[in-house]
Structures are given as structure tokens and as C-alpha cells.
């Protein structure tokens, strides 16, 4: 469904500070796959997501989504099909708007034509029902400004917003990293339950090796803008931390335990 072919991305292209992040990068996703993406800081994971979502454009290469060329399509146009959540809970919501208003804006992805219509009673009931699925009692706080909610609550609302209208692809960029462990666990569970019940093709960046191995159907390990390890299918279901580290060392001739990797596992 998503393919990236021969993508190159260099920042500060025409200056002495030029930094090549992705070099001849190719990747292909199947419908319904849940991919965990892991890799050291600066490996280019967020850059990869930025390219897919259209926040930045590649220097060369081609990106297609369901056979449609989206390489140079503007960010907001792709957003119809691509849902995205960031690490920072304040990034996904408008703090001075209420929970209901935030949801209503996300809901507009489904019906573009009624720009001069307000939120109808039916919409309100639908949004309320969807938010009650989170099991956090937020359906009773629909008229609260979202900036007053906790980071975990906001991230949960963002998750609902990103999946309110089913996206073709969901991009999660360390979306639990800023939360306390208990809340992070809760959001991870919610993510899994929504993604599996709606069959959403998902890519999730995480810093936690255990989470990466436990979650999803495929694991990508990135290093210096390249895919160092790509594990799926049968092999994925038998994956352990130690044989992942082994695979990484084999492929990159590097030792993953060096502390610049900054990966955690428990």
C-alpha cells in the first residue's frame, strides 16, 4: 500500500553543513501491517515520517500510497489518508478549543463540503460515543478546553482524532515517550486495540526494544538513514532481544550495546 523508492534527503543541500539523512531509501508496506520502527537518536526515523506525511519533501525518489503518487502532494491533502501522532501531547490538539471542538475538526476529514455548517447533534453524539470508548471518562468533559487535560488524556484524544475517520496509514512517532510509565502502557494498549479492531496499517516509532518486539507484525531497525534490520512473518513471532541485537551487529558490524544507541529494554 505504501511504497518509497530510492528516496534521498539531504538537509542544507547547498551549504558546507550539508547532512545526508536518507540515501537511496526504499521501503514497501503491506495493507494491515503494524510496523515497529526502532533506531538510535538521529537515525532518521522522524525524517522518514516527515517525508511520508509531507512535512518535508525528498530531493529525489518516489512515494506512493495505494498506487497514487503522493511524493509532492501537500501535507494537508495527504492528511485525508494519513493520521499522525507526535511525542509531544500538545502537538496534536488545539489547547484553547474544547475536547468536542478538537474532535469536530478531526471529523471534518470525512465531509469537506459543509464548511458553513456547525457541529450537529448527531455529530456530537457520535464524537461522544467514540471518546467514551477510551474508558477515561472524557465523554463527561467534552466542553473542557483541551489544554486543561493531562498529557495522557490529550494523547488519548489525539489517538481518537487520528483514527476518527479511518486513515489508510497511521504514523506514531514515540507517542508515549513523554508520558509516565503507567499512562504510557495505557495509551499503548488503546493504540493496539484501536489499530487491530479497525485494521489500520500502522508505523510506530519507539525507543523501547521490548515494546518494539512485542508490538506489531514487523520490525524495522534503522541506522544512519538505512534499514539495518527488517523482520517480519514467522521470524518476527519468534524474535527475542538477544537475536535482534545479534542480527543488528551482523548487518552493521556495530555493537548495539554502545551507549550512543540509547535504547531501553526491560
Amino acid at each position: 500500500m505504501l511504497t518509497m523508492k530510492h528516496i534521498n534527503k539531504t538537509f542544507y543541500l547547498n551549504s558546507p553543513d550539508r547532512r545526508t539523512i536518507l540515501k537511496n531509501f526504499s521501503l514497501s508496506l503491506k495493507e494491515g501491517e503494524f510496523i515497529s520502527v526502532i533506531g538510535s537518536n538521529g537515525a532518521g526515523k522522524s525524517t522518514l515520517f516527515n517525508l511520508i506525511a509531507g512535512s518535508i519533501l525528498p530531493d529525489s525518489g518516489k512515494i506512493t500510497l495505494d498506487n497514487k503518487d503522493i511524493t509532492f502532494l501537500s501535507e494537508h491533502k495527504r492528511a485525508v489518508w494519513i493520521g499522525r501522532i507526535f511525542q509531544d501531547p500538545s502537538k496534536g490538539t488545539a489547547p484553547n478549543l474544547t475536547v468536542e471542538e478538537n474532535l469536530a475538526i478531526a471529523y471534518m476529514r470525512s465531509k469537506k463540503s459543509h464548511l458553513l455548517k456547525g457541529i450537529t447533534k448527531k455529530d456530537k453524539a457520535f464524537l461522544r460515543e467514540r471518546i467514551s470508548c477510551l474508558g477515561m471518562g472524557l465523554e463527561n468533559r467534552m466542553n473542557t478546553k483541551i489544554g486543561l487535560l493531562s498529557g495522557g488524556q490529550r494523547q488519548a484524544v489525539t489517538l481518537t482524532m487520528a483514527t476518527l475517520v479511518k486513515p489508510k496509514l497511521l504514523l506514531l512517532d514515540e507517542h508515549t515517550a513523554a508520558l509516565d510509565p503507567v499512562t504510557a502502557e495505557k495509551i499503548t494498549e488503546l493504540t493496539q486495540s484501536i489499530v487491530s479492531s479497525e485494521h489500520i496499517t500502522t508505523m510506530m516509532i519507539t525507543h523501547n526494544l521490548t515494546t518494539a518486539i512485542k508490538t506489531g507484525s514487523r520490525l524495522l531497525m534503522m541506522d544512519e538513514g538505512k534499514i539495518a534490520v527488517d523482520i517480519k512473518g514467522e521470524e518476527h513471532s519468534k524474535l527475542t532481544v538477544s537475536n535482534l541485537l545479534e542480527r543488528f551487529s551482523q548487518n552493521t558490524k556495530k555493537n548495539l550495546n554502545s551507549d550512543r544507541m540509547l535504547l531501553q529494554y526491560d
Binding site: A79, K91, P95, E101, I105, A106, M108, R109, I119
Partner: protein
């Protein structure tokens, strides 16, 4: 203060509520300072004066609104499509408008409207009392208030509010923030130009310099409004703007009852705005100093 002066102040407060509404959209809702206002106000006045002189005062208001919307659109395009910083975009449009406004008024810096039919003479004929200006202005301000109220509840209005709050989130919802900004700037400057159009007919003249300081006056109204009504919602925000604009004019009228020359008014307005905006920061600094002194005296 005489009754006539009081009435005049209320009338001015109402007619200058409209530019404050416009500034509320740019400065408060979008969080983008728009300096087009000084120019689009005069544009509205110039267009309105020309049509009023030709015998079409109502068309003058409509044309003023349209011209103002176009001016706002240009500023928004400079910002979004041409990548010019918001403040500079506004300054460029405002500067360009100076020439346009002169051209509209046939190359003159001032255009008197003596003995012409205006929307106010129409109102006087309709109501037949001394409150005809107040009544017409109340009607218009209420109408704009209701239109704003309804508009900001629509999906487009909601998107504009969210654009000022978190652009990334709006784009993530597949809404083009360039478009929401264009609509918002057009509405903002249309409202400001409507005020200019009304003022020209009310004072029976349009003048190339009548927009000078408009933004400061608008901001002063917003700040005074904030002090009276905590504006947590759009509705309360707009109500506070009306209260602020009227109170500002009453304060000015009070100051004028002393023997202060009217030329001091702009300086006073600028000081009021500067002090009001600086106060929270100053307070913090002052408290920090006090704390530091206390710590120092402890050891």
C-alpha cells in the same frame, strides 16, 4: 460631561467596535498581528465617500466591505503564498493602500460630504429622533456580532480558531491553513473597512489620514474589554470588545472635558496599551527582585 458629549462617545464607541472586532480576529483568534488595519479603514471610508457623493450611501457600505476584504486577502496572500513575515505583509499592504486610497478619492487627501444623503440621514428619516445614529449603529454592531457568533460555530470558523491555536493540528485534519488565514484576514479587514465606511458618512468626510493609530485604539479596546469581562469564549470575547470600545471612548470624552488638547490622545492611548501589556512582565520582575532580596538577607 454634557449629554450630547456622552451620546457622541457611545456612538463613537459603537462604530469603533467594528475595527476592534477585526483586530480581535487577527491578534486574538489567529494570533497574527495584522497591520493592514490602518489602510483598510481608510479604504472603506474612501470607497464609501465616493459612492455616497454619487448618491449611493448603502452601496457605499457594501463596496467598502468588499474592498476591505480584498485588502485583507492581499495581506494574507503575501504571508502565506509569498512567505513574507506577517508584520511586513501588513505594512506593505497598508503602504500600498495609501496610494490606492488617494486614487479612489480622485487624487485628493480629503473628501467632504456636505448635504449628501447618508445612511445616517436615512436613519434620521426612519426613526425621527435624536438617537438615530445610536440606533443605526446599535443595529449594525448587533448584526455583526450575531454574524460573527454564528460564523465561529461553523466548521470554517472552528478551523480558523484552531489555526491560531495549533496550525499543525489543523493541517493534520486535512485543512489548508493558508485558506483559513485568507478567509480570516478578509473578514477582519472587511469589518474594519465597514467601520471606515460608516465613519466617513457619520462625520461627512473621508480623510487620507483618518486611519492613523487605529490598531492602537483597537488594542486598547481589547485590553479594557479583557479587564471587564474575562473572555473565555468567543461570545464573551466579542462582548468584552464591545464593552471595551465603548468604555475607551467614554474615557477619551472624560479626558477631553479637562483642558487637555486632543492632540495628546494618541500618546495617551499608546501609553495605556504599552503599560497594560507590560504590567504582567513588570510584576514578575518586581516579585523576583523581592524574592532575591529576601534570600540575600537570609545569609
Amino acid at each position: 460631561m454634557s449629554f450630547i458629549a456622552f451620546l457622541g462617545a457611545i456612538e463613537l464607541g459603537l462604530v469603533y467596535t467594528l475595527p476592534a472586532f477585526g483586530i480581535f480576529i487577527s491578534f486574538r483568534i489567529l494570533n497574527i498581528p495584522d497591520l493592514t488595519a490602518d489602510g483598510s479603514f481608510v479604504l472603506g471610508a474612501a470607497v464609501s465617500a465616493v459612492l455616497t457623493a454619487a448618491g449611493h450611501p448603502v452601496a457605499g457600505l457594501a463596496a467598502g466591505i468588499t474592498a476591505g476584504a480584498a485588502a485583507g486577502l492581499i495581506t494574507a496572500i503575501l504571508q502565506t503564498k509569498c512567505g513574507i513575515a506577517p508584520i511586513l505583509s501588513g505594512i506593505l499592504t497598508m503602504t500600498g493602500l495609501y496610494t490606492i486610497n488617494l486614487l479612489v478619492m480622485g487624487g485628493r487627501a480629503n473628501m467632504p460630504l456636505l448635504n449628501n444623503e447618508t445612511v445616517f440621514t436615512l436613519s434620521a428619516a426612519l426613526f425621527g429622533d435624536i438617537f438615530y445614529k445610536l440606533e443605526l449603529l446599535l443595529f449594525i454592531v448587533t448584526l455583526i456580532f450575531v454574524l460573527y457568533y454564528l460564523f465561529f460555530k461553523t466548521q470554517l470558523g472552528l478551523s480558523i480558531r484552531a489555526t491560531g491555536d495549533n496550525e499543525d493540528m489543523v493541517r493534520a485534519s486535512s485543512i489548508d491553513t493558508d485558506s483559513t488565514k485568507m478567509v480570516a484576514f478578509a473578514i477582519s479587514n472587511a469589518t474594519i473597512a465597514l467601520s471606515g465606511a460608516l465613519v466617513a458618512q457619520m462625520q461627512q468626510s473621508a480623510d487620507i489620514n483618518m486611519g492613523a493609530g487605529l490598531i492602537v485604539i483597537g488594542l486598547a479596546s481589547l485590553i479594557i474589554g479583557d479587564a471587564i469581562i474575562k473572555n473565555k469564549t468567543i461570545t464573551r470575547g466579542l462582548l468584552s470588545v464591545i464593552a471595551g470600545a465603548v468604555l475607551y471612548r467614554l474615557l477619551i470624552a472624560l479626558i477631553l472635558t479637562t483642558n487637555l488638547a486632543p492632540s495628546y490622545l494618541k500618546l495617551i492611548s499608546a501609553l495605556v496599551v504599552a503599560i497594560a501589556i507590560a504590567t504582567p512582565t513588570m510584576k514578575k520582575k518586581f516579585e523576583l527582585k523581592k524574592l532575591q532580596k529576601k534570600e540575600a538577607s537570609l545569609c
